[in-house]
Amino acid sequence: MNSAIQFNNVHYAIDNQPILKNITGSFYEGEVTTLVGPSGAGKTTLLKLCNGLLSPNTGEIHINGKNIDDYDPVELRRYVGMALQSAPMIAGTVYKNLALPLDLQGQQLSKNQAADLLQDVGLGEEFLHRNSRELSGGQRQKVSIARTLVNRPEILLLDEITSSLDQVSQKEIEELIVKINRKFGVTIIWITHNLQQAITVGTYTWVMMAGEIIEEGKSDLLKSPKNEQVRQFVKGELE
């Protein structure tokens, strides 16, 4: 299996406080890998390292075999798209938000393209002219994912995008992730707090704690973890 992203002994610290320690591992091309772990495990930091919003203090990250430092930051971020946890919207309509990635490149998104994107994430064309402030949490997340897809990323990073959603919306987003993975062949790395989601949607899972990978492998590992800490985490004894 080819590595879409390869971490080699990656270390990241802020003010000498280690956030990630000696991370080594691969995210496989075309697969959905879920990242789980208690708060403060360093999951979001790890995602930000993947699309160059942060750089490691030591160690190397390779994207499709090429050192991340050899990528132009703008090109890298278009290639490795990221949907942020809070799904921030710029002021204005849904269309304005969808058009943003191309707008940043001095190009225009046609209304038809925007409608197709909305359809891909399960929203109707009528949402195009809706003010982004009027969207529900689930709708915001869908628009946020659609907006990230405008750049046609090969790798998609999703940061706890279902954490504040009701069960119906969570299920819709799960289906959407599977659809994007299968329809576009996009490699997906998804931080989730919901272990059931991690098992059903993810092919692979990394369990992180205090900046380290404690256990990794097929997502089924969460059903019978080998590591005692992971067992405790799965039982809900660690937050």
């Binding site: 802020i14 699309n51 160059g52 919003l53 942060l54 750089s55 930051p73 703008v74 090109e75 971020r77 278009r78 798209g81 990221m82 942020l84 809070s86 921030p88 710029i90 943003l100 990635p101 940043l104 490149q105 907006r147 990230t148 750049n151």
Partner: protein, 250 residues
Amino acid sequence: MSPIALIFSLIFVLIPIVLSKTFNLGLEKDTAIAVVRSIIQLFVVGYVLKFVFDSESIIYIFLMVGVMIVAATLNARKKGAAIKGITWKIAVTLIFVEVLTQSILLGFNITPHTAQYIIPISGMMVGNGMVLAILFLNRFIAETEARQDQTELILSLGGTPKQAIHTQLITSIKASMIPTIESQKTIGLVQLPGMMSGQIIAGASPVQAVQFQLLVLFLLLTAASVTCVMLGFLSYRTMFNQRMQLVWGR
């Protein structure tokens, strides 16, 4: 004004002190310090200005303007301490504003080439630039903190640092310029400007006082816009590193 008249003017100092004492405002000490400081500072400035005007030396003019810029920079930088290299950014901005405005004034013979004009006008430009720099930095830092998510969003979508900070920059520039523009809209209707009032009291013709006041108002518009725009564009770059990562607050 005679020295006796000046002494009588201290009645206006006694009134706030008595009021503070009567209503337990606790402002007597601060008021007294402010009065003593203003008396000393203004008399010192008065004598220094007399010396500089009499000497007609360009070196003293440069020295006076230099002191103004240093004092204004040191005062304004406190508001932007979180921005890397803010001291030199403010200093460069104020120097640029001063050079630009004086070049136009002197180059087009709008004002005479004497210390009597150069120093007071420089004081107004630098002082106004300082206030604008403080207003701008206050707002820019607040906007940057409040919209960190948006900055990160645009970077994550492949935007450049300039695109990521554009809204915050423009909002801050506009917000800090509004007081200058708004106060000019009501000038003469709500209040007579201090400089114009001073000239009229000193016996100048009101029409001539108005002409000079208009000149100052136009200069202040330039000082305000150049200060905000230049400081903004100098400041935002240091919030990002060469890998186009937001390093602000980290």
